[in-house]
């Protein structure tokens, strides 16, 4: 059922068993899973049914540090959330992504891959992808990895009819959570503002047994920081709040000559590789995905092979001969990288306010020297693995070979993946939520989405987000049944 919140009188109170704020992959998955269990859910979406400029404007913010995307372009504030413009790449985190590491330092997750595996099939069904990821060893140090590509599922389109018709779910669009109302041992209510078409604002509240914020990898931190600023620092554990924010930096790292193998190395002229767990351990543990894309034009490959002939004349001549028989291709190698969690990378509140009265976001984000060193080591491991396995040879870009050289601006960016800020852990001293995604110290406030990731691996986060929401639905259903 869709409620028109713009008709609510000022100060109106809506009551629900569970209130979920945010209708992106995290919130929609959770709300639907609860409704399917006949649990009364109120789903709040800050934006309208489709993206619009007035709504996106509320996501504008400032980035300090490395170049990054405009914050109002990097996510969508509308029904279905950022699934409205995602590319669809899916892969679960690897088992070792959940483990702690001493050097470079990384906390473990309080859960392991085995805790999320039971939700893989259901998550894959939601995202309309196969649920098997059959990575293939290549030599001793490499894996040819599998990503599945969702159509991509737009959660707003896919579940619009469900939200309109399901008797256990109520949806309010254009209803932004602007603060928390504390109660005894938890949250008593959420303060909500609904903007009517004429710009008039209605302030109302939601009371519920349980609340889940699924506002996104930046907005979860923003709202909780604002709650602490208005209610005192004790409400949400402040030590890690907003901090340890991560992306998946992407780099152009190399070019390659690659033998076109008969058993399908490339799919649509693209192949993905990662280091095997043993090679990953030797290279320092930063997990990376290498995306090998076949060069579009033969002249590019010919020039690359001519260069190889200078370095290794006999090999170069053999490769040139093979290229003439279409047995070899040139390729570009890009890396999508795990970023080390760093307390200095954080979501903060700026001085400027948006029209709902919330402080604008200031995102502090930099890639560290340790991030770069991890990339360099992993690229070397990939190059040596390629040569050892006889797949091809890599020509490294100059910035990879010389860490004093700045990375050219056209060789580096990020993946639109927002992780951390409210990370999961066992202690409020260094995390915000516990293993069940419950905010430490608050009995009935949970968080969903990639803001809870303590580390990000390299896998695109949406599949993990959906798995976590399905797991949270199980947990909440069990709680409510008591």
């Amino acid at each position: 059922m869709i409620l028109d919140a713009s008709t609510f009188p000022e100060g109106h109170v809506v009551r629900a068993r569970v209130c979920v704020a945010g209708s992106g992959p995290a919130g929609m998955t959770l709300a639907r899973a609860l409704a399917l269990r006949r649990i009364d859910v109120l789903l709040l979406e800050a934006g309208g049914p489709e993206p619009d400029d007035a709504s996106q404007q509320l996501y504008a913010g400032r980035v300090e540090g490395d170049p990054y995307f405009e914050l109002d372009l990097a996510r969508l504030r509308c029904f279905g959330g950022t699934s409205g413009h995602w590319a669809g790449y899916c892969r679960p985190l690897d088992a070792h992504d959940f483990l702690p590491r001493a050097d470079p330092p990384r906390p473990g997750w309080p859960i392991g891959r085995a805790d999320l595996d039971p939700f893989l099939a259901a998550a894959a069904e939601i995202l309309e992808i196969p649920d098997r990821f059959a990575d293939r060893p290549v030599g001793s140090d490499l894996l040819r990895t599998v990503f599945h590509v969702s159509p991509p599922v737009r959660f707003g389109e896919k579940y619009r009819a469900f939200c309109a018709e399901d008797p256990h779910l109520r949806l309010c669009l254009r209803s932004a959570v602007v603060n928390l109302v504390p109660g005894a041992g938890g949250i008593r209510a959420l303060e909500v503002v609904t903007e009517a078409g004429d710009g008039a604002q209605r302030r109302w509240q939601v009371e519920a047994d349980d609340f889940v914020l699924a506002l996104g990898g930046i907005e979860n931190s923003r709202l909780l920081l604002w709650a602490n600023a208005t209610h005192g620092q004790a409400l949400i554990p402040p030590a890690a709040l907003g901090r340890y924010w991560m992306e998946h930096p992407t780099f152009s790292v190399a070019e390659a000559v690659v033998w076109r193998d008969p058993d399908g190395l490339f799919v649509n002229d693209q192949a993905f590789f990662a280091l095997s767990p043993a090679a990953l351990e030797r290279s320092g543990g930063l997990n990376l995905s290498f995306d090998i894309d076949v060069m579009a034009y033969p002249d590019q490959t010919r020039a690359l092979i001519a260069d190889l002939m200078c370095a290794a004349p006999a090999l170069g001549q053999a490769v040139m001969d093979a290229f003439g028989k279409n047995l070899v291709c040139g390729a570009r190698v890009h890396a999508q990288c795990e970023q080390l969690p760093d307390a200095a990378n954080r979501v903060a509140l700026g001085e400027a306010r948006d029209r709902l009265g919330l402080p604008r976001v200031v995102l502090h984000w930099r890639k560290s020297a340790a991030d770069r060193a991890g990339v360099t080591r992993a690229v070397m491991a990939l190059a040596e693995g390629f040569a050892a396995a006889g797949i091809g040879r890599l020509r490294l870009l100059d910035w990879v070979l010389d860490d004093r050289r700045p990375i050219p601006v056209d060789r580096v960016m990020a993946s639109w993946h927002h992780m951390g800020g409210t990370r999961m852990g066992n202690s409020p001293a260094d995390s915000v939520v516990d293993a069940q995604l419950r905010v430490h110290g608050l009995g009935n406030l949970h968080l969903a989405g990639s803001s809870v990731f303590p580390s990000g691996g390299y896998a695109n986060p949406t599949l993990t987000i959906v798995q976590l929401s399905l797991r949270l639905a199980d947990h909440l259903a069990t709680r409510l049944a008591r």
Partner: protein, 44 residues
């Protein structure tokens, strides 16, 4: 007026110039190219 170089001296100077070019430009370039490629020992 400088004394004109004989044929032997000219060849010597040309050889030195060529060697200089090789040392200053060609060899570093070749080393850079070789450094960029990650090769198997048997490739060289």
């Amino acid at each position: 007026m400088a004394e004109a170089a004989g044929p032997t001296r000219r060849r010597l100077l040309a050889g030195l110039a060529a060697a200089g070019l090789v040392a200053r430009i060609a060899l570093p370039r070749l080393f850079r190219i070789r450094r960029r490629w990650v090769l198997d020992r048997a490739d060289r």
